[in-house]
Amino acid sequence: MMFNKALWFQNYKQSKFLIWILLALFVVQMPLQAILSVESWQERSERTAYSEEYVYEVQAWDIMQIFSQGMFTVFLAAAIVIFASLLIGLERNTRRSDFTFSLPYSRSSLFLAKWALGSTAVGVFFIMNFLPAYFIIYQSEFREALSLVSSIEIFWAPLLGYIFFFSFSLLVGSITGEMVSQIVLTFIFGFLPIIIFTLIQEFMQVHDFFLFHIGSQPRWIEYATPFFYAAGSMGSLPGVIAAVVFTAVCLWGGTVLYTKNNLEYNGEFLMFKKLNPVFVVLLTVMISFFGGMIVSSLAPWGADALRILSYWIGFTTFMLFALLIIRRLIKMNIIFSGRAV
């Protein structure tokens, strides 16, 4: 049922715009960037040929910019979130959801078909663009640079990372009631561990009260942050294993939740009303801490008491706004209903 022709066609029809954007982004990220990078490496290398003290060498970082890191991974992550939201969120905002759910397929088949289409598109486009990009560098004079990176760093980690991030976006879609909430919550949850870590760190710093040692960001925070998988920061074996495990968890969780969706709540912020209080508390607390962080940063570094005071002023102000906005968000209902035939 994951590869049902009708469901593939239906899902393709409602997301084809993004599918082609995704392909264009992969083309620019890999083959095009590979051509331009080789040109620019050549130019630099020619320039340094006149200098006796300096020898130009392509670094591992340069190669990873083409395959697994850099700004295009961020664009691709954003495109993947929108892709998932066209498959689930937009369907809920419109009358398409009634059509889909009236079809003679189980809800798990509907969800798995969406996942299969998205993962296949991401996987095929990635491989389709990886191979020519790799070949472009391989046949250039900078072939040796490819030995500076491993296949995990430039192939498996980004490929499985994108698929995990897509699966994660679909999982969020299985609990949200419409497109905007799916996009917003995917980004919030996509960064959640790092956001919580930063907010706590800032709170401790302002109050000079340390629950744990503040240093560089622990590696486990990165493993727990879905966005890093799409941004190519998981180029290690544990990262690849984590991506596979998390993909399986998202797929299982998404299928179960999608099956339990009550479609009468389409268009509302969340599909599961029991989650509303959890979201209200979580978002309010996060926005309040964020407010504290922002306002306290305006106070002079030396003035400790003033920093603490401004922290709590920011905290309270943002909390009040958060409560007002989030209460409205929870009550909203966005359905674009095409009128009668």
Binding site: N4, K5, A6, F9, Q10, K13, Q14, T94, R95, R96, S97, D98, F99, T100, F101, S102, L103, P104, Y105, S106, R107, N262, L263, E264, K273, F336, S337, G338, R339, A340, V341
Partner: protein
């Protein structure tokens, strides 16, 4: 199709309560109720879109929620073509052929020819009437045994409406289909349906065959020298009052009430033909905002 004790709560409010009825092949059933009575919620539940809080829907004894593949026998036609507007006719045929194994393309083309519907690159570009006809035709072409129509004639002009209704009646009689129609247009339903289910506050208020239903009440016109006696006024359903002339509804066969009317010596007494709308007013209370 067996609709077994369906209840549905939305935001903790009961929208449907213990709806229970059966649908036999070859019948056209009108689902009638006032705005917000739960008609669309009922149809969406029958199509498996909404999961009932309690109860279920069975086709040939198979639960549609546990075995959704049985929904090949049901097709839901909503009051909007939003979901299909970006498809070309060719794409839609491809989609339906892959969903409904018995999809009959030649039948679809013959009906498209009959109603002068040409193949188009975007269904959204059809006129409102053409969209209505096309969705109805494709629904019939799927070979499904149960067609669920939500307000099928809403917003259509008289000519298209007539075509839609004619097609419905023809198909049901030719192919032993069952059609469930939710509609406000009681005058249209009257000439089409053979059964009517009245929904009131989420419950089945009554479920009758049309002829049986019409025989339950008697519509009469009465005129009095003064006004209608108060004692009588409390016992009968007044549909209309113009001066001293009353149009009323009384249960057929209630000889005691007929005697009371006769005793009140009306100047004029005439039985009028009963319409579905009269019954609707009597059962569901008030012609306003129907």
């Amino acid at each position: 199709m067996r609709v077994q004790h369906i209840s549905k709560h939305i935001h903790h409010k009961p929208i449907l309560a213990d709806i229970d009825f059966s649908v036999e092949p070859g019948s056209i059933i009108g689902i009638v109720g006032r705005n917000g009575s739960g008609k669309t919620t009922l149809l969406r539940s029958l199509a498996g879109i909404l999961t009932p809080t309690r109860g279920s829907v069975y086709i040939d004894g198979i639960d549609i929620f546990k075995h959704p593949e049985i929904k090949k026998q049901i097709i839901f036609v909503p009051d909007s073509t939003e979901a299909l507007k970006n498809y070309s006719t060719k794409e839609l045929i491809y989609l339906y052929k892959n969903i409904y194994p018995e999809f009959d393309t030649s039948y679809l083309f013959s009906l498209m020819k009959r109603f002068k519907l040409s193949q188009i690159s975007k269904i959204g570009n059809y006129s409102k009437g053409q969209k209505a006809l096309f969705t109805l035709i494709t629904a019939f072409a799927t070979g499904a045994s149960y067609i669920l129509l939500d307000e099928p004639t809403d917003g259509l002009d008289v000519i298209v409406k007539k075509q839609v209704l004619q097609l419905l009646v023809e198909e049901v009689s030719d192919r032993r289909l069952a059609v469930l129609i939710s509609s406000h247009r009681l005058d249209e339903l009257e000439f089409m349906v053979n059964e009517v289910i009245f929904i009131k506050q989420g419950k089945v208020d009554s479920h009758y065959e049309l002829d049986t239903m019409k025989n339950q009440y008697k519509k009469i016109q009465l005129a009095f020298a003064e006004k209608m006696p108060e004692a009588l006024e409390n016992e009968i359903e007044i549909l209309d009052k113009t001066g001293k002339v009353y149009t009323v509804l009384i249960p057929r066969g209630n000889s005691l009430l007929e005697e009371k009317i006769s005793d009140s010596r009306p100047l004029f007494y005439e039985e009028l033909p009963m319409s579905l709308e009269d019954y609707f007013v009597a059962k569901l209370g008030g012609p306003d905002d129907v």
